[in-house]
């Protein structure tokens, strides 16, 4: 076999130059499930924005936003490979499992980050591109490199990165940052702590082994449970705001109230049931339902605004 095809550099004590990772492994680096949620929330930001955009430009922008989100996920996996390796939930990711080299992931993430911002700037506008760049920076640098290993408020502040896509979506349409996308951003921001802390309560041993100061490990399970309830109590009314501001219709009002009450109910169950298998089940129930909750809110808003399914309500606020 030709020396050019050797997997390892003969000059560097057998250090691999390239991996045998396949396209699917690289796709996994982009955190496809997070990307899907980003696409839904950014699209909702576009759909609820006052104005319209050419469908091809909208689709191209959405692709750039999705790739940008994936790039930040990739950079996160590159930086966190050491702690991913010691956590059961993340040990099978492409880098800790050896399918992709860290250097490959870094190059992949940086290339996609720069490419997605440039494309969004060319296809849509500068404010949208600037916001995407800030989102990638916030997730990869502020959250991954700084907050995550430093403070139990890591996912609270870092959650902002996941909350920005609706703002980027609105900027694609209007070229500005408006109040509607800010409300959508607030919903995701307030949703993040109950969602992640429900999982962190169950996986606290995992996080402790990795040395990550998650809220249950630092403040204790009881304080975390109280904060989950507190965030849910604030989040549920904020999630109703789109209906009161006129960009969510009757279906949204009903869905946001009913599912918001369910979120509060499941949070209270997490607060009450603290021992044994039942406590684990309560946490998983909240974690699982929180994903459905956010998806439902944005899917209904999207259906109402993009597909004409809106039974308009009188505007109360804004």
């Amino acid at each position: 076999m030709s020396a050019a095809l050797d997997r390892f550099d003969p000059r560097s004590d057998g250090v691999a130059l390239t991996s045998t990772g396949e396209a699917g492994d690289f796709f996994e680096l982009l955190k496809p499930r997070v990307m899907f949620l980003v696409v839904v929330t950014a699209l909702t930001g576009m759909a609820t924005a006052p104005g319209s955009v050419h469908p091809v430009i909208g689709l191209a922008s959405l692709l750039a936003i999705a790739v940008g989100a994936g790039a930040s996920g990739c950079l996160n996996m590159w930086y966190d490979a050491d702690i991913d390796a010691v956590m059961t939930r993340t040990a099978k990711r492409p880098i800790p499992s050896g399918r992709i080299l860290p250097s490959e992931a870094l190059a992949f993430g940086l290339t996609l980050s720069i490419g997605s911002v440039l494309v969004l700037g060319l296809v849509a506008n500068l404010p949208a591109a600037a916001m995407l760049a800030f989102t990638i920076f916030f997730y990869a640098v502020v959250y991954s490199m700084w907050l995550k290993r430093w403070t139990p408020q890591n996912i609270v502040i870092g959650g902002a990165a996941g909350a920005f896509p609706p703002i980027i979506g609105e900027a694609v349409v209007t070229g500005e940052f408006g109040l509607r996308s800010l409300v959508l951003c607030a919903i995701i921001f307030l949703w993040t702590p109950p969602h992640f802390w429900a999982l962190a309560l169950v996986k606290s041993a995992d996080y402790a082994r990795a040395g990550i100061p998650m809220m249950p490990n630092v403040a204790g399970p009881a304080a975390t449970r109280r904060q989950i309830v507190l965030y849910s109590l604030i989040m549920a009314p904020v999630a109703v705001l789109p209906a009161l501001m006129g960009f969510g219709g009757l279906i949204y009002l009903v869905v946001s109230v009913v599912t918001g009450l369910a979120m509060i109910g499941l949070s209270l169950r997490v607060l009450r049931v603290t021992e044994g298998e039942a406590a684990t089940k309560a946490c998983y129930a909240l974690f699982g339902f929180s994903i459905l909750y956010l998806f439902l809110l944005f899917a209904v808003l999207l259906a109402e605004n993009a597909f004409g399914l809106m039974w308009a309500l009188p505007k109360v606020i804004g």
Binding site: M1, L5, D6, R7, F8, D9, P10, D13, G14, T20, G21, E22, A23, F26, H54, V56, I57, A60, L63, L122, V123
Partner: protein, 56 residues
């Protein structure tokens, strides 16, 4: 003989590794092709139909 020369010969790609690399290269080519189409379509939309009405 110096210490540098005593290093073991590093392993090369196996045929299975080569097949995986080939699949990866094909996927990369497809993505690059899709990007060409993407930029072409977006350019047409951004510039509008007038792009076809330029003097030759």
């Amino acid at each position: 003989m110096s210490g540098k020369d005593q290093r073991p010969t590093p392993p090369a790609f196996s045929p299975e590794d080569m097949a995986r690399r080939r699949r990866r290269s094909v996927a990369l080519a497809l993505v690059l092709g899709a990007l060409v189409v993407f930029f072409f379509v977006v350019t047409l939309v951004k510039t509008g139909p007038a792009i076809l009405n330029r003097p030759l």
